[in-house]
């Protein structure tokens, strides 16, 4: 199992982390996981919501401020 790619959005306020996620995820292989670091409180809500709207998989939050997204298409 390879480590997920990292996207560091710490210090950015929403919607910037979601915009960065939207730009980065299409560059991953389908099935790969992107790990997003974001300390804006809105990210906890908006990253899962973006996944739902975009049909991507929210793979969980292993720690506070850490979010994993799997590219499904």
């Amino acid at each position: 199992m390879t480590e997920p790619e990292l996207l560091d959005c710490r210090g950015q306020r929403c919607p910037l982390p979601v915009i960065a996620l939207a730009k980065r995820l299409p560059r991953l292989q389908v099935g790969a996981v992107l790990r997003v670091l974001a300390d804006d409180p809105a990210a906890a809500n908006d990253i899962p919501a973006w996944c739902r709207l975009r049909g991507q998989e929210f793979a969980g939050s292993p720690a506070p401020g850490v979010y994993e997204v799997r590219r499904t298409h």
């Binding site: 306020r13 929403c14 919607p15 915009i19 939207a22 409180p41 809105a42 899962p48 919501a49 739902r52």
Partner: protein, 360 residues
């Protein structure tokens, strides 16, 4: 209407209604008439109506009159901040607060509500009649039945509904805010049904224990204006609700069709007539608010960047919907069909420009 009543009452009802001289008796008559008018619109008895210094004070006093040390308060996750603050204060003094979740449309989870109100030591349950942020109407009748079965009084925060849409029966306490029905600011209403065990927060407030003498009572002129405004809006509420609801339908369908990547939130059918909320992906809520303001549209937002705490709206969070790029449009009696059309014509371009600025 409210303005005329306010100006007349300023001339006629300025005196202290608890005194006995002629001007004071006149003020007392105006106050009694106002209470009767409010009671009639709400279909309750006049001696069940208390005037407070606003909707927040009505909630605070309504809740405080039920709470005792070591009990519990149950509320939905999407209550107004006045309710959440009352629950926090109670927790700080050793009480328990149970927050009941909502679904993605913002509707109360009734099974979780039933379980919560049957828990130990519940002194009061609080439910908003309809979400003040997304408009979704709450299942008040079912929630009230669950409270009744558990022997728990239900306080309905009806600030969004009074003067617009009927509030289902079955509650024990009800709160509302005159500002929300077109009355003056600084007047709230607390209704406590007679069968409810409830103690005024400060029972020794005055020599005359009339219900209007809750501490922080607003002045008579403002109360008179509030009652006049309520009677006026109640008379036309049905027609106005139909008119605004059609405009909200137009906003919901047009925004979804003309703005890409937008999430229109809340229940599309079982909702308040005048309120619509949507979130635009990749857009900064504050920038959107200012862009709309420059074009003459006064709207609100639940996005974190528009809040002093930098947290997104607890209502949007509880629903799990997108919180950035959020716009809440609240229509009123002077909103015209042309206003709505102009808003809908300008919005797609505004959103597109803001997105272009951040390269999406």
């Amino acid at each position: 209407m409210a303005r005329q009543a306010l100006l007349a009452a300023l001339d006629d009802g300025w005196a202290d209604p608890s005194k006995l001289y002629a001007q004071a008796r006149r003020a007392r008559q105006l106050l009694d008439a106002a209470r009767e008018a409010v009671a009639e619109v709400l279909a309750v008895r006049p001696d069940e109506v208390f005037f407070t210094s606003g909707g927040t004070a009505a909630v605070r006093d309504g809740v405080a009159g039920r709470l005792r040390p070591g009990g519990a308060i149950v509320h939905s996750a999407i209550e107004h901040s006045s309710v959440l603050r009352a629950a926090q204060r109670y927790q700080a003094s050793g009480g328990r607060a149970v927050s009941v979740p909502v679904d993605r449309l913002g509707r109360l989870d009734l099974d979780a509500w039933r379980a919560a109100v049957t828990g130990p030591g519940v002194a009061i349950a609080v439910l908003i009649s309809a979400s003040h942020e997304v408009g979704t109407v709450q299942p008040v009748a079912d929630a009230a039945a669950a409270c009744d079965a558990a022997g728990v009084p239900l306080l309905v925060d009806a600030a969004q509904s009074v003067g617009r849409v009927p509030v289902p029966e079955g509650w024990s306490l009800l709160t509302a805010s005159a500002r929300k029905w077109g009355g003056p600011p600084g007047v709230g209403v607390l209704v406590v049904r007679k069968r409810t065990r409830w103690s005024p927060p400060e029972p020794d407030a005055g020599p005359d224990p009339g219900p209007e003498l809750v501490p922080g009572t607003p002045g008579v002129p403002a109360v008179v204006a509030a009652a006049a405004a309520l009677r006026a809006v109640a008379a036309t509420a049905q027609a106005e609700a139909a008119r605004l609801s059609a405009l909200v339908d137009r906003i919901r369908t047009t925004v979804a069709a003309t703005v890409p990547d937008v999430e229109v939130v809340g229940d599309p059918v079982d909702r308040l007539p005048h309120l619509v909320t949507f979130s635009c992906l990749y857009v900064d809520g504050e920038a959107l608010l200012h862009a709309l303001d420059r074009r003459g549209f006064a709207v609100s937002s639940g996005s974190s960047c528009t809040s002093s705490t930098l947290r997104p709206s607890h209502v949007l969070e509880a629903m799990g919907v997108l919180s950035h790029g959020n716009v809440r449009v609240s229509l009123h009696s002077e909103t015209t069909s042309d206003d709505v059309d102009r808003f809908l014509a300008e919005l797609p371009g505004i959103v597109a420009r803001l997105r272009a600025e951040v390269g999406v």
